[in-house]
Amino acid sequence: MTTGEPVEDLLRELAPQVLGALVRRYGHFDACEDAVQEALLAAATQWPRQGVPERARGWLITVASRRLTDELRSEAARRRRETTVAALAPVEESVLPAPGEQRSPDQDDTLTLLFLCCHPSLSPPSQVALTLRAVGGLTTAEIARAFLVPEATMAQRISRAKQRIKATGASFEPLPEAERAERLRVVLQVLYLIFNEGYTATSGPRLQRLELTAEAIRLARAVHRMLPDDGEVAGLLALLLLTDARRAARCRPDGSLVPLAEQDRSRWNQRQIREGAELITATLASRVPLGPYQLQAAIAAVHDEASKAEDTDWRQILALFELLERVAPNPVVTLNHAVALGMVHGPAAGLELLARLDGDDRMAGNHRVDAVRAHLLEMAGDRDAARDHYLQAARRTTSLPEQRYLRSRAAQLG
C-alpha cells in the first residue's frame, strides 16, 4: 500500500495521459478535463487507503470515462437527444490500452495538451491555470492557494479558459509543423511563469508555492524528453535548475531577501547546478540556434560555478548579455546588462547604458530601474544619490520583501 506523496506524484504523471486518451476518443476537451479532475480526486482519496490499483492508468481512464458519459448523457437528456449518446457506449474496456502500446501516444498527448492549454487566445494567467490543472494534475483548490485567490475565482478562470478554447474551434490534434515553433515559445513562457510564481514566494502558503517550482521543472523535463533536440527547451530546463539551485540561500528564515553577492553558497544545490551546467554546456556545443533561454541559462551557470561572489567571471557574463541583447532585446535585459557592465568597466559605464531606459515607456515608474541606478551609484561612491534612488525604488515596488531590502540598503548609506 502506498500513501502520501508517491500517490500524488503518480497521479500528476498520469493526469495528462488519461486526459489525452479521453479527448482523443471522445473530443469534448472541456468535459473530459472535468471528468479527469473528478477521477483524480477519487483516486487521491481512495488509493492512499486502499492501495494503488495494479493498472492505475486504466483505473483512472475507466472512472473518468464513466463520469464523462454520465455527464454527456445528462447533458444530452437535457437536450432530448439521447440517440446520439447511445453511440458513445460502451466505453470502459475499449479505452484501455492494449499491453505494449503505452508509451509514445502518451508523450504526444502530453505535448498536444500543453499546446492546447497554452492556446494564444488565452491570457497568460489562464494559460498558467489551465496547464497546471490539465497537464499538471493539480486541483483547482491547490492552484487557487498557490496564486492567493479564492477557489471560486480560480474555478471561474479555468472554466472560462476552456470555453474560450472551445470557441476557437481548436481541436486535440498534433499541431501543423509551421505553428509548432511559435506555440512552443508560449509553452516555455508559461512554464517559466509557473516557476517564477513559486520561486519568488517568500511567505504565504509556502508549501503550495514551492510546489510550483517543482511542477515547472517536472513539466520542463517532460517537454525536454519529448523534444531533446530543441535548444530552447533544454535552455529553459537548465535555467530553471540553475536558478532553483540557489533557493535555500535566497531568503532568510524571517522571509527577508539575500542578494546573490551575499548568499551562503554552501547552501546552493550542487547536484542541480551540475545537471543544469552539463545540460547547457552540451546544448551550446550542439550548434542549435541560440535563444534567450539558453543564454540566460549560460549566465546563471557562470554565477553558480563561482564558489565565492568575488570569483564571478563578470567578463563572460557581460559577453553573454551582449549576445542576449542581440538575440532578444528588451528593457529587462538592458537593466541586467548595465549591472554586468558596471562590474567589468566600472559604474559610470553601467549608468550610461541605464540612461538608455529613461525614455522607455515599458519601464516608466518601474522600481527596478531605480534599484539598479542606486546600486551603480553606490559603487561609484555617490552615497546621497544612491540612497535617494534606493528609497525611490522602495516606494515604487509592490513587493513587501523587496521594499524591506531596498530600505535596508538605503539605511546602510546613512
Binding site: 492567493l148 510564481e197 519568488t200 514566494a201 534599484a371 509592490t398 513587501l400
Partner: protein, 120 residues
C-alpha cells in the same frame, strides 16, 4: 497584479443610491460584478456601513481613546472596496471608471503589496 478599488462616497451619493435612480445604479453595479465574476478577475469586495457607525481608535501614551465617527473629517468617506486581479493597471482603471461612484465622488485604484520578491 492585484488592485484594491477603494469606493468613495460623499453625503450625496448615499442619497442618490437610495433615491429614484437607485435601482438603475445597483443594476450597473450588479452587471460589473457579474462580469468580474465570470472573467475570474474578482478576488473579493465588501460594502461598508454608513460612517456614522464608525469608531476611531487612537492610543496615546499607552492609553486607548475611542471616539465615535470616522478618522478623517472629510465629506468623502470610503464606502467599500473591491479587490480585482488584472493583467494591466489600465484594466483596473477601466473598471473603476465604470463604477457609479466615480461619477458622484471618486474611486481610488491602488496596487496591493505582495510577499513575492527577488533581488539581484
Amino acid at each position: 497584479m492585484k488592485y484594491m478599488l477603494l469606493i468613495y462616497d460623499n453625503p450625496n451619493t448615499r442619497e442618490v443610491f437610495f433615491g429614484e435612480q437607485g435601482a438603475e445604479l445597483m443594476a450597473e453595479v450588479d452587471a460589473i460584478m457579474r462580469e468580474l465574476t465570470e472573467s475570474g478577475e474578482l478576488v473579493g469586495g465588501q460594502a461598508l456601513a454608513d460612517p456614522s457607525n464608525s469608531k476611531t481608535v487612537r492610543v496615546r501614551d499607552g492609553v486607548p481613546a475611542v471616539t465615535d465617527g470616522p478618522f478623517a473629517e472629510s465629506k468623502e468617506q470610503m464606502g467599500g472596496y473591491l479587490i480585482v486581479e488584472c493583467e494591466r493597471e489600465e484594466r483596473a482603471v477601466e473598471i473603476a471608471a465604470r463604477w457609479p461612484n466615480a461619477r458622484f465622488a471618486a474611486m481610488e485604484v491602488r496596487p496591493i503589496m505582495d510577499t513575492s520578491g527577488d533581488v539581484m
